[in-house]
């Protein structure tokens, strides 16, 4: 079965991104397809590569990046939500005249249409948020 996942809260403050990560791993282990993970609201903050959590805590962004690499996951960060919160790839940084980008490997920035498309194409859509 084809799953689409929405993550709508940022890392560490809320458990949402942890729950989503565990769910995606379990779904993949059962042979399901995870067509896309869409990060919205503060969820876009999961995709910054500049976070430096304490070593004895889980590394949320690195976990997602590794999982995406292993399973060729499509991790999409909403552009509108990302612009508000200062999450940029190089293309967006150039376009907006900003001096840096901070997107982590394995994530890409795209539009809200990707969320709707995910809902249309997936058998199930599940949201993890607050």
């Amino acid at each position: 079965m084809k799953f689409g996942i929405v993550v709508s809260e940022g890392p560490y403050t809320h458990q949402a991104s942890d729950s989503a990560y565990n769910f995606v791993k379990a779904a993949l282990a059962k042979g399901h397809e995870v067509a896309r993970v869409f990060f919205y609201h503060d969820g876009v903050n999961v995709g910054t590569r500049l976070s430096v959590p304490p070593q004895d805590d889980r590394q949320i962004q690195e976990q997602w990046t590794a999982l995406a690499k292993e399973h060729d996951l499509d991790l999409v960060i909403c552009i509108a939500a990302a612009q508000r919160r200062g999450l940029l790839d190089q293309n967006e940084a150039d376009r907006q005249g900003k001096d840096a980008n901070n997107i982590a490997e394995g994530f890409r920035i795209s539009g809200l249409g990707q969320l709707i498309e995910m809902g249309i194409q997936c058998d199930r859509t599940i949201t993890f948020g607050d």
Partner: protein, 135 residues
């Protein structure tokens, strides 16, 4: 899979205190381009999103409440509002914005977009969807 899916956007949070209501509307507006069967649900504190007279000037916030009146132009014409949620909060339909759409199948007659339903009716609406997105 049928060609057109039924999408329900569930709004249970008040506006302004958090961004969910505003970013929910942004999804609805973008989603309108996909020609799906779209409904919105307003229950619990979500009914506060639709009240008239919102004035955010002094609070220094963006007033997005006029956007609800533009939804008809995007062919988003089914705004289900729960009666019990209104009652619990001391609200009536008169406290909500007058949101209308032009019915192109009826000589562009102006019709109300807000559909007041009971709690049981809202449960029926929710159970009749393909995709439920909550904000």
């Amino acid at each position: 899979m049928s060609e057109v899916k039924k999408f329900l956007y569930v709004n249970r949070k008040a506006p302004y205190g958090t961004i969910y209501a505003q970013e929910s509307l942004e999804v609805v507006l973008i989603g309108a381009a996909f020609d799906q069967d779209v409904s919105m649900a307003f229950l619990d504190d979500g009914v506060f999103q639709l009240t008239k007279g919102q004035d955010t000037k002094e609070a220094g916030l963006k007033n997005f409440s006029p956007t609800f009146r533009a939804l008809g132009d995007y062919e988003v014409t089914k705004l289900y509002v729960e009666q019990e949620s209104l009652d619990e909060r001391g609200l009536t339909l008169d406290d909500l914005q007058d949101i209308q759409y032009e019915d192109e199948d009826d000589d562009y007659a102006e019709k109300p977009s807000i559909i007041v339903v009971s709690r049981a009716g809202m449960a029926d609406v929710m159970a009749d969807q393909d995709v439920v997105l909550s904000f």
